[in-house]
Symmetry: none
Subunit: 254 residues, 2 copies
């Protein structure tokens, strides 16, 4: 891995980039995953590279849904596995969610590598190898496990593509998305849209999960009922708008 | 190449992505080029994934400059070669511009591969192999051909990095940039800033070039004299701002 000095002002972002590149080298992340990473970086820059209050609120609601679900599943793709393997395992353990590998650029080899990678970080019973059920999609994201995503009532889809998100929604599942682009189809069709960097999102969700692990179902339902996802998306758009305004003023001065 | 179903709502964007990945596999595009591609995608989302009126105006002016220039050069990097090889050749033919390969991550092997790639798409006399002149820069972008970029009066620099753009400007060359980020240094220092996706930009420029090929120099000068680049940048920023405002209102209402 390229050496990044810890005092570099963009240390965290550069390390995330290096981890994604390492994911490609390990055969976990697809090469297309690097493009997704670049897109994320641009949006992260525009929201100011920090978790906004509304993102934190969405993260709290996401955790509530995972806790009260009967069969919650966290979908894992190559970027997610490369960036937050430990956090995936802990969140799945605390909330009783299954982990299921689901890939757009699917190959048996990549699925096996991701499963092994998650197991080396402590995961057990990782789903996604079977792919014994299908969603109504024309690409390989359609292959899901019957005991996993197919039958899930709540699905967390970090770094997702939009059409699967729509398909899952149509199946009346609660979809929680992590997507830095507030304009994406994923963001717009999810029930809970976490507009945050995936590494910060998992860090926050784990903190929430730890604080909320002894909450009652009524408490979770209260949190969920008081949530307005459109408001959260709208607020992220405002955030970007204001930042662009500030940046364009700064440029105007020079 | 991964199969992308033609009915995928983001087919065009995904194909562009696949072409960039193929560029990496062929040794034409650098791996860093993938992250840059992703950053571009993010800004393309924000301008609505279409050519705005002001982008089209900039594209028309760009073509006018190429037509009236004495020694116009189109600079080619790894992403450009992967994405618009045919269009590069046709634009160079119609406007009488030279093609010159110029790379940040320069290696003889990569330059040779890009030259071969362009030749396989019909290009002749591709410059950039010699690198017998230098610009005032600390990285490899400084190596240019004396008969090409060094002596050019107009340079089209698609997907550029900011410092070379500044250097070319200081040498009193007319710089035409294609950059989806209206806030970048490249965008701010170019004479003509095309804030558009490179594939759409080339498509539009070819159409303009075809319509304008029998224009007189006076007609080209008229088009150029009536052009205000700051206005175009400012309009792109407004475009993004308005798009974000409208969308955030829409979300607020539902």
């Amino acid at each position: 891995m390229t050496q990044i000095p810890q005092d570099h002002p963009r240390y965290k972002s550069l390390i995330t980039r290096e981890n994604t590149v390492e994911g490609v080298e390990k055969g976990i992340t697809s090469i297309q995953g690097l493009i997704a990473q670049g897109r994320g970086e641009a949006f992260d820059y525009l929201i100011g590279e920090c978790s906004t209050d509304s993102a934190k609120q969405a993260e709290r609601v996401a955790v509530s849904y995972l806790f009260i679900a009967e069969n919650p599943v966290i979908s894992v793709n190559g970027n997610t596995a490369a960036l937050v393997p430990d956090e995936l395992v802990v969140l799945s353990d605390i909330t009783g969610s299954s982990l299921e590998v689901n890939l757009f650029h699917r190959s048996k080899k990549r699925i096996d590598r991701i499963v092994e990678h998650l197991e080396s970080h402590g995961a057990r019973n990782v789903l996604g190898v079977k792919g014994d059920s299908t969603l109504d999609l024309s690409h390989d994201r359609r292959l899901v496990d019957h005991d996993g995503i197919y039958g899930a009532d709540v699905v967390l889809v970090p770094l997702e593509d939009g059409d699967r998100c729509e398909t899952l929604s149509k199946m009346n599942k609660v979809v929680i998305a992590i997507d830095l682009n507030p304009l994406s189809r994923t963001s717009r069709c999810a029930n809970v849209t976490i507009i945050d960097n995936i590494t910060r999102a998992f860090e926050n969700m784990l903190q929430h999960a730890d604080e909320m692990k002894s909450f009652t179902d009524d408490q979770f339902k209260d949190i969920i009922d008081n949530y307005d996802n459109n408001q959260v998306i709208s607020s992220a758009l405002h955030e970007i708008e204001n930042r662009l305004k500030t940046l364009s003023k700064e440029f105007g001065k020079t």
